[in-house]
């Protein structure tokens, strides 16, 4: 199961937050007055992410450069490298009997001359996971923003990423307008993305019988989206932003690696099917964020409500409190609560009796669950207006449906809780 990166953030919402021509770095340093004071910012980060039960693990270095060409003309480039390994659930549920699957890179389910078959067997009661998962991904982002007149900013940029089974390119354009003495900012943006999916071993025919192991050549999908937002200075110490986002995807939206167990009336496995998702998806979200300064402490509080055409509704509450410890040190506790409802076509398993549904998926990411994150970030100021920080977080997902009343499934945890540890080291420098 791969970690894929969405679009780079749109900087527009920042514009209302500060004085007319305030650059992102408001830290004071003497410098020649010809160019911007500290025109170059370099950020290097290292992320370590590890899930429980031998699941996904990733190490991800990120390098980001931001150059100010004077008068708020900014160029921002980021390079991300991702190496992922570990076991990833394949969508089938645990069973009382051992289960054998072929790794997706296999070209045949059963050993045959001239074909590659890598099988893995899951012990009774264990969650079926493919232990051969290994991926390396490279992603790049480039963004430009500049003012138009005193009250407007335009920004545009692109993103590209590649890995063994997935390539993506995307572009975005945004515009923002300040008024009310820069107390209010209106933003709007659009983005377009084009992806190619060429799974290891080929993309399976969606909804087909796993035993047939039918594969197809690469598929594509694309996404078009838009955002409108308003940022408002509420008080001297309180800034708020409200964003409405909308996007529509179409094409191959199915996960090429996931299957769904087919069970008889007692709960014994009779086979598997490849999952099949609709070929369109429309999503909307409303995001409300607040920044409140309480003396030297800053509270970041946000709420997001999401809904999509697959029937998934979500609520997210995120809170961070940045505490100034003095001497350039800071501590920031973080808490996030998340809840989502299941997709209309999500099921833990399929029953072999009764008609097969058109769309089906047992992907835990489409299930109903609640998730929490608790974290702490410690930062210390360094030379060159820099900062070194360490962030430690613990993420936990608790699905709603984890058991079944079927005889063969008694006592089995069909969708176990997920736990992940996040460690991030960051280094910020200015030249």
């Amino acid at each position: 199961m791969q970690l894929k990166r969405p679009r780079s953030p749109l900087h527009l919402g920042l514009m209302a937050a500060s004085c007319a021509l305030l650059s992102d770095s408001a830290r004071a340093q003497a410098a020649p007055d010809d160019a911007a004071e500290k025109p170059l910012q370099i950020d290097t980060d290292l992320l370590y992410y590890k899930e429980n039960a031998g699941r996904v693990q990733t190490i991800e270095p990120v390098v980001s450069l931001k150059k100010d060409f004077g008068d708020q003309r900014l160029l921002d480039g980021t390079l991300t490298l991702d190496t992922l390994s570990g076991a990833t659930p394949n969508g089938a549920i645990p069973s009382r009997k051992p289960q054998t699957f072929a790794s997706p890179s296999s070209t045949s389910l059963t050993p045959k001359p001239g074909y590659k078959t890598t099988l893995y067997t899951i012990a009774p009661g264990d969650l079926p996971q493919d232990p051969h998962f290994k991926e390396r991904r490279v992603a790049g982002d480039l963004d430009w923003s500049q003012p138009i007149g005193l009250d407007n900013t335009v920004s545009y940029g692109g993103h590209a990423s590649t890995e063994h089974d997935f390539d993506s390119v995307a572009v975005h354009v945004g515009l923002s307008h300040d008024f009310n003495e820069k107390n209010t900012t209106l933003s709007a943006g659009i983005n377009e993305e084009y992806d190619r999916i060429h799974a290891h071993g080929g993309n399976p025919v969606a909804g087909s019988d796993y035993a047939l192991y039918e594969k197809e050549p690469s598929q594509t999908k694309n996404l078009a989206g838009g955002l409108i937002g308003v940022t408002q200075v509420m008080r001297r110490n309180w800034l708020t932003e409200l964003n409405y986002t909308f996007d529509h995807s179409q094409g191959y939206l199915t996960d090429p690696y996931r299957i769904i167990s087919v069970l008889d009336d007692t709960g014994a496995v009779t086979g598997y099917r490849y999952e099949n998702r609709p070929d369109t998806r429309t999503r909307q979200s409303l995001y409300w964020v607040n920044k409140v300064a309480l003396g030297p402490t800053v509270l970041d509080l946000s709420y997001r409500r999401g809904k999509d055409s697959w029937g998934i509704g979500s609520d997210t509450v995120d809170a961070k409190l940045r505490i100034d410890l003095g001497s350039g040190m800071s501590l920031e506790p973080h808490a996030r609560w998340y809840h989502q409802s299941a997709a209309d076509f999500y099921n833990l398993y399929l029953s072999e009796t009764g008609p097969a549904p058109t769309y089906m998926s047992a992907d835990p990411r489409l299930a109903a669950f609640a998730a929490t994150t608790f974290g702490l970030k410690f930062g210390i100021a360094t030379r060159r207006n820099g900062e070194l920080s360490l962030r430690l977080e613990q993420y936990q997902q608790r699905p709603s449906d984890q058991a079944s009343s079927l005889a063969e499934l008694q006592g089995l945890d069909l969708n176990p809780n997920l736990k992940a540890t996040i460690v991030q080291l960051s280094w910020h420098l200015e030249y």
């Binding site: 004071a28 003497a30 008068d71 409500r305």
Partner: protein, 162 residues
């Protein structure tokens, strides 16, 4: 069942938002405008005044200060007076800025913001070019590096005009 729960959440959220906005709608009254005791421009009649409003937290001000130093140095003997009004709430912040960007011109401290209110400042930084009879000839919002030369020319023209 799912829909009902969602509607309940939304109503709670809307009620919370309404409460928050109600609190915010009550804004404190504006202070009485004054400022004459801080700065009396009449005292500078006969000279050209470059009146600048700055703050320690205003990034472009770090570039405007060396420029204003040069301007004061070049045109001081011809009758230019640069006056920079500081609007920091905390004097310590202004002092820290001045330590890093020394000023060879007059500084006026206005922590209550009486002068920017009186002059109708709409953005930071803002500068006013005032002629020898005390009339505002030009007003500049912001300090852009690309406009610097044109601004220098404008000040020079007004000071050296006879």
């Amino acid at each position: 069942m799912r829909r009902r729960a969602g509607a309940g959440r939304r109503h709670a959220f809307t009620a919370l938002l309404a409460a928050v906005l109600l609190l915010v709608a009550i804004s404190p009254p504006a202070p009485a405008a004054s400022g004459a005791e801080l700065l009396d421009l009449a005292a500078f009649k006969g000279q050209v005044v470059y009146l600048d409003f700055w703050a320690s937290w205003c990034a472009p001000c770090r570039q405007s200060f060396p420029w204003m130093n040069r301007l004061q140095g070049e045109l001081g003997r011809d009758g230019l007076v640069v006056i920079a009004v500081n609007v920091d709430r905390e004097r310590a912040d202004a002092d820290r800025f001045l330590h890093e960007h020394p000023a060879q011109f007059r500084i006026v401290y206005d922590p209550d913001g009486l002068l920017p209110e009186k002059f109708g400042v709409r953005g930071m930084p803002t500068s006013f070019l005032i002629d020898r009879s005390g009339h505002v000839q030009a007003r500049h919002e912001g300090f852009l590096v690309r406009d610097r030369d044109a601004l220098t020319q404008q000040v020079r023209a007004l000071v050296l005009a006879h």
